[in-house]
Symmetry: C2
Subunit: 334 residues, 2 copies
Amino acid sequence: MKVTIKDVAKRAGVSISTVSRVINSSKPVSSEIHQKVSSIIEETGYVPNPIARSLVMKKSRLIGVLVPDVSNFFIGEILNGIEEIGKMYNYDIILCNTYGDLEEEIKYLNLLSAKQVEGIVFMTWKLQEKLVNYISKMETPVVLINRNSKDLDIPSVSIDNFKAAYEMTNYLIENGHEKIALIRNTVDKDAFGFDLYRGYEKALKEHKIPIDERLIRYGYFELKKSYEITKDFIDENILPTAIFASSDVMAIGAINCLLDHGYKVPDEVSVVGFNDINLASIYRPNLTTIHQPIYDIGAVAIRMIIKKINKEPLESNVSILPHMLIERASSKRI
Amino acid sequence: MKVTIKDVAKRAGVSISTVSRVINSSKPVSSEIHQKVSSIIEETGYVPNPIARSLVMKKSRLIGVLVPDVSNFFIGEILNGIEEIGKMYNYDIILCNTYGDLEEEIKYLNLLSAKQVEGIVFMTWKLQEKLVNYISKMETPVVLINRNSKDLDIPSVSIDNFKAAYEMTNYLIENGHEKIALIRNTVDKDAFGFDLYRGYEKALKEHKIPIDERLIRYGYFELKKSYEITKDFIDENILPTAIFASSDVMAIGAINCLLDHGYKVPDEVSVVGFNDINLASIYRPNLTTIHQPIYDIGAVAIRMIIKKINKEPLESNVSILPHMLIERASSKRI
DNA sequence: TTGTAGGCGTTATCAT
DNA sequence: ATGATAACGCCTACAA
């Protein structure tokens, strides 16, 4: 049987209030009683029941984390940041996998707030409007990951995807590329990575390079799809000199396809990615990519949610973290 | 303000017990009252407070998951299995990152059981004896992942690492290799992967191939270390014809080194891995490796812990899942 | 079938 | 400084 505060009180010959006081040092307790109670807590191995505590305090010290795929390379690194900082503030993390499915997301959003989590860190591939409305109405504070939601009033943290894509496209152009394919995530405006398209477009326009719609395709976050797209470029005989993939994984899909079909990377085709997941520097050739401070994204997100929980003001509703273009072996000047 | 069972009772003009009964269908309720209460629950959006419920039921419907590194490729895939099956049984997952540090592990083990989790899925790189003793004494049920603990009375799930390594070594030998390096994880007997060494040894012995201690090194789970080891083989002029790494990631470290130094894989050196993480078939050359049913390992583990929670008997204390040697492009006959 | 009341383990507000 | 006691929201004998 678990020992409770009552047991301790009884054995110490004091009231439970006193025991509570020494546990929480919420009010002064005479040092001899403090001694006694402490030693009894020690010997009985008493630990306060956090559930009972939550009930009266109305605080669960739980933060829900909703992600579309735990095993995703990018997300795993973010989770590290979330978990570590959460623990630092004495919060535990409840992890939920949504598969990016809208219904699952709403279901879990409900479930979590019913479970009395104090806040929710939310990440998804596609932030549909329905979801935004839903979240805005929730009482539990939510922060979004990897979403520039200046227009929304939901706090969020991410890099400046638009600018990063703009820089990457410029980099390719400055290295002599004109036929630059873009492998986007999805068609949807509300999907993760839409800003990349805008950045790409702007760079091309500024350099007066006409946009070739045939070179803009959708990889749906999948390595395999990206592989197929690249194969299509080959088959359709429109292989560009550079491929800009919206994620490192899709960049690798493209490179794999190229290598499998006898093309040299980067000698014949430059391929660049986005995110700089660990894999980007493990894979050969190393990926030229946009470095995101992935761990920090998680860390900042959970810090924001904790601030929201404590009703502290956020410096800014959207936190934009710095990115960096990293040139490695998968791209070259032509 | 959150609506409680009292509010519902009041508005329905019944007692809270009646409301409780319709929520849990624990006892018969006349259909008209049932109607009424239901509709009020509907319109108020009442949701039972799981914390209050936990307190009286002494069940939190929470399962703790302790892993050494969330962002590890192998672990991410396991988490998918854990999360999905957990949800299926209406359990939530509390995720903790231990970094494989003994003190952290013990700390979290305590923390979790204090948090009233009903069970714990535990994974670590090094299962020190101290930890085993500790776990055996815990009241909260624990199941170990990826550990053949026939000798322990702690339930566990994994593949037959010994047999898998034996098969892999045999495979290499049958393909003409005699100089086979083994990149182990760590020196420790209690570390994850010790059985691989035994399997390797047995295969060599059976084929009367003398064991060359210079070819057995320790990569400590790290790609970088494995890279360095391979570099050492080159520098010391003892590069074998085959390298058997205890993990896919370390196999990739070895291959990267080989490629960087102008060696052809698999033409000059065969390199094989272990685990078959997603990356194994993404990386080029594709890795010959031991396939583990990674998702299932997580799924089985959580099923076991749920059985333990419900005090149902386990068919077996150790669950050994099937593995498979997958031959891909990183190895060849010589 | 329905309601009353006690209890789950804490914290917090009163008195004392 | 210490001790009763009332919450917190829910479940469950027991009574009616």
